[in-house]
């Protein structure tokens, strides 16, 4: 299962990838600009959610958002909720752990900020074909090497998971009993070394594959997909979003120095 978008199913999918990249970036910056919980909540519900619904990717979005943010959110509520330093309004106490009002508020704020970050980039990934994003970046003059590092990073997760899966299958076929998540972790931990080593070998192989395909011979490679669709509207939108992000940062900095 891949989180990467492939098809052009909505006008949002067809937007210039850079527009969506700027959008994701600006929304994240805005989200972090104010400590209040209401501000990221508003961004989530009033900006990101409508965009995702319009793109028709709500289902995958909700699943993936839950998958990626749940561990962080749970950890935040446990740690901050119970162990918030200097808490005064204690709701319940369990030995040294004291569930406090301040802790819960702080946990909620932080969780919402992180969710805005995750949601923005999920929006980008779910609505943008990765190769188009890569060629958009190359066309805007970004170094092919940096673009490569980003695209490889997008793929290394799935490749790593597939490899771990194959090893687990082979071990089970050799009679190793693996039950539940703990069993999987216990089976894979002794293999962390070989897995990482394997990842390095693979990176070496990829490097060789790139070189034998003339990677880096010219500073300005051509592109199969050709120039990507762009419009004055999108250019203006990008400028506005960048201004919003800058304004958010300015407000934040001003708030701090004042």
């Amino acid at each position: 299962m891949s989180i990467l978008a492939v098809s052009d199913t909505s006008p949002i999918h067809r937007l210039n990838p850079v527009t969506k990249l700027v959008f994701a970036f600006s929304v994240t910056v805005c989200g972090f600009a104010h400590t209040s919980a209401l501000w990221p909540l508003a961004l989530l519900l009033l900006v990101l959610l409508p965009a995702i619904v319009y793109a028709g990717a709500l289902r995958r979005f909700t699943q993936l958002l839950a998958l990626f943010s749940a561990p962080v959110v749970v950890a935040l509520f446990l740690v901050q909720g119970f162990f918030y330093p200097g808490a005064e309004r204690v709701i319940a106490a369990l030995g040294p752990a004291r569930l406090s009002y301040e802790g819960l508020i702080f946990a909620a704020q932080t969780a919402l900020h992180i969710m805005v970050l995750v949601a923005s980039f999920l929006f980008l990934l779910l609505t943008t074909s990765p190769s188009r994003l890569m060629s958009a970046m190359t066309q805007r003059g970004m170094s092919p090497k940096i673009v490569y590092v980003i695209s490889a990073a997008l793929q290394i997760g799935p490749a790593f998971a597939a490899r771990a899966q194959r090893i687990l299958q082979a071990q089970q076929a050799h009679g190793l009993v693996i039950r539940g998540l703990r069993g999987r972790v216990r089976a894979l931990v002794p293999l962390a070394g070989p897995l990482i080593l394997g990842a390095f070998t693979e990176i070496g192989d990829r490097a060789a594959a790139m070189e034998t395909r003339a990677f880096g011979v010219t500073r300005r490679p051509t592109s199969l997909s050709g120039p990507l669709p762009d419009s004055t509207g999108q250019r203006v939108a990008r400028a506005v979003m960048i201004l919003c992000a800058a304004a958010a940062v300015a407000v934040n900095v001003w708030g701090v120095i004042r």
Binding site: Y148, E202, R206, E211, T212, T218, P221, L224, S225
Partner: protein, 292 residues
Amino acid sequence: MIEFKDFTFTYPTGRPAPALRSITMTVRPGTICGVVGADGSGKTTLAAVVSGVSPHLTGGEFSGSVEVCGRPVAGTPMAELATSVGLVRQDPFSQISGARFTVREELAFGLENLAVERDVMRHRVEHVMADVGLSELADRSPYELSGGQQQRLAIGSVLAMRPAVIVLDEPTSQLDAEGSRRVFGILDALKERGVAVLVMEHRLELLARSADQVVVLEDGAVAADGPTREVLGDPRLPEWGVGPLQYTTAARRAAEHGLWDESRPLPVTLETAADGFHQVTHRIPIPAGDQP
């Protein structure tokens, strides 16, 4: 053109013995040279050396020289070598660039790097895709393909770049008979276009049909180098760790019983074997002068 002159190569780690010893051989433009040999005889190293993977990426000590299209491999940066020599490695999975997300884009990757015009590139990519039989999978991720499909993708990726020299290390290991014949059909076409082809291949029948020259490697050294029919029919093949063709074995065993005209060379193709045995079963007299 590939030219080895007294080339010896030793990997930096592992066994201290050289992986290749005093290799001297030439592959001319417009010819197909097959390389056979047992496991560990140095076939893969030979491929790596021609493409520059060794010593550029693996490191290692060498003496003598390897030149590809007149350029010394050791002294030319790999990405630059890639403009004249294409390498199809044994493990197709390790050959996916990882930089592109669909089969079509993967095929175009090398051309993008060479800054080939977009229209030319599109045309060439579609053409190559049809040649290697991947058109139906154009929009699939390279990682999702089967081993055989990845092998065809690896071949296509290199073909698209139209190198003057192409090296293929066991290109049919995961392909069925039909797929293998198709690959060799492509090699035949490359030969017509003047490409120098070096192919490591254990299915001798494919080499017997297509190769002009066959080199046998044994323990890193050239044990035999000559015209295909001569080398593949050589009775010492098993000593070098290479299984002879069934046609050849059958004829040699038949000859022991006087059932093969010994003035005929041992057959390496279906056609020559059929001719020879037809002569025996129909008792067509063996020319007097040739009788022992």
